[in-house]
């Protein structure tokens, strides 16, 4: 069965979070949220998923600071961040391009990244757009740095970057990304051409494992329905009529 591009990305992310005890999802992240909810179902509930912006039955009862306190306590294993720009050292920019404090292009802002990137052991970077505009040599503004000096308290950091074309894993010691898999239909040459930073890669890059059978039914059924509570617009677009 052919998967739509968002479904491939969801599959890739779900694989990266397998076995996690607690996955938290922040602002405007429907694809990571879908992956987390899918992983919760597949783990028989052993993976806990907390979606910050879930309006009804929000899992937090201590207000919007609880997510960050949980991360500070070491109780969040996986978190997701994006980036208007992401560079080869996994620095992310959520603020602006071309000058600061008055940039040419302004994005919403850093959200919790400057803390969560340091605190959560497995941070997965997700950005659907995979272009030299987004994946740059060096970000214009470091909302949160990919790596830190040795004396910086940093139990957390980036482990992977998932785009619309591929999966990179991040190697902290080398401070570089390595191409881990290509989504079906995409090529190494295409990834090289659309990436603004240098990265490592194995001789043969495998294809991103996708979903089939029961897992896909789960995604398109109960996961899509739960997703629609928090991301109705996305759920309509991605899963269409399947969402009641």
């Amino acid at each position: 069965m052919e998967l739509a591009p968002p479904e491939v990305q969801i599959a890739a992310i779900a694989r990266l979070i397998a076995g996690a005890g607690h996955v938290a999802v922040g602002a405007a992240s429907p694809i990571p949220a879908a992956a987390a909810l899918l992983e919760r179902v597949r783990s028989g509930g052993r993976t806990r998923v907390s979606i910050l912006h879930r309006r009804r039955g929000n899992p937090f009862t201590e207000g919007s600071r609880e997510l960050f306190d949980l991360a500070g306590q070491g109780r969040i294993d996986v978190f997701f961040l994006g980036g208007a720009q992401i560079d080869g050292e996994a620095n992310i920019n959520l603020v602006g391009i071309g000058g600061y404090p008055v940039p040419k292009v302004r994005f919403p802002g850093s959200f919790g990244s400057a803390f969560m990137y340091f605190s959560v052991p497995r941070v997965i970077l997700y950005r659907e757009e995979h272009s030299t505009r987004v994946l740059v040599e060096r970000v214009d503004f470091v909302s949160a740095p990919g790596v830190s000096a040795e004396n910086v308290h940093r139990p957390g950091g980036p482990v992977a970057l998932v785009t619309g074309r591929c999966v990179f894993v991040f190697e902290r010691v080398r401070r570089r990304f390595r191409l881990a898999s290509l989504h079906p239909g995409h090529t190494v040459d295409e990834v090289i051409a659309n990436t603004g930073f240098a990265f490592d890669r194995p001789e043969r890059v495998p294809e991103t494992e996708t979903l089939s059978g029961e897992a896909l039914d789960l995604l398109r059924g109960p996961v899509a329905a739960e997703l629609a509570e928090t991301y109705p617009e996305f759920a309509r677009r991605a899963f269409g009529a399947g969402v009641g």
Binding site: R55, G63, F115, S148
Partner: protein, 273 residues
């Protein structure tokens, strides 16, 4: 003796030009009726604190020319996309943007809540967020060797402005699980609160409701404003009006479109009694 009930317009009158005003995020309880009243009264030079992010009310105030500065971790309309008035003002340099990160805002408010001049926060080191904050400090953790840590100074807003599900006759307000509202009420000099519904019984004497209640000790005044969060949502009572927010996002893309939105949905709105 509790806090007095006034009209929404009178509540807005209590917010002076130049005030530092703390606003909750769009997914919390936003006093939109009061924000519209603020625009109608022509408030100017507000310093807005987004706790920890800003959204629709901040964008409307910025578009209306009411905001001199905004400190926040982000300004966004969520699923409706970027905040158009903010984006325009930030790139034009007509609003001073003080970039923070979510837990730094919580930390600054908790410092004010506890009456201490600062609290420490992990993370931030090596970020440009920190590099541009002359008001934050890095010290060596006195309890360990070679362990730099950031100190965030307290923020004490002049006003915390938010909406509540219930208010009682003494001025206690029930906000349920939206406890960031308790934090801003505690940290601010005063809280001004619109309430969806006025209840006769004391919220604080009721063991079931007390945990979601903010004491009137923090509240300066209240106004009864049914559907006062609209077009944003109120817990499980009503959802955000996504169509309206999408329309706003579309109209506010240009200054002219924003002016039309304002004329239609803000300036023209009758003042609630």
């Amino acid at each position: 003796m509790g806090a007095p009930y006034v009209s929404v317009a009178e509540l807005a009158e209590r917010i002076q030009d130049g005030s530092l005003i703390a606003l909750p995020p769009d997914y919390s309880l936003v006093a939109m009726a009061a924000v519209r009243a603020l625009v109608r009264k022509g408030v100017r030079n507000l310093h807005v604190l987004g706790v920890p992010v800003a959204g629709f009310p901040a964008d409307v105030l910025i578009g209306a020319g009411s905001v001199a500065a905004i400190e926040t971790s982000a300004v966004s309309l969520g699923e409706a996309g970027f905040a158009p008035a903010f984006t325009r003002a930030a790139t034009a340099g007509t609003v001073r943007v003080i970039d923070a990160t979510c837990p730094a805002i919580h930390t600054a408010l908790q410092a004010a809540e506890k009456g201490v001049p600062f609290l420490p926060l992990r993370g931030l080191l090596g970020s440009d967020v920190l590099r541009h904050r002359d008001d934050w400090r890095v010290i060596g953790n006195p309890f360990a060797a070679n362990d730099p840590i950031v100190l965030i100074p307290a923020i004490r807003p002049d006003v915390a402005l938010f909406h509540a599900r219930f208010g009682d006759r003494e001025g206690n307000v029930w906000v349920g699980r939206r406890r960031e509202l308790a934090t801003i009420a505690h940290a601010a000099h005063t809280a001004l609160v619109t309430v969806e519904e006025v209840r006769g019984e004391s919220l604080i004497e009721d063991e079931t409701l007390a945990p979601g209640t903010i004491s009137s000790v923090y509240v300066g005044a209240l106004a009864h404003a049914p559907r006062g969060a609209w077009p944003l949502g109120l817990l499980d009572l009503y959802p955000p009006d996504e169509a309206h927010l999408a329309e706003y996002a579309r109209m506010a893309r240009t200054a002219e479109g924003f002016a039309s939105y304002l004329a239609r949905h803000v300036l023209g709105e009758p003042v609630p009694a």
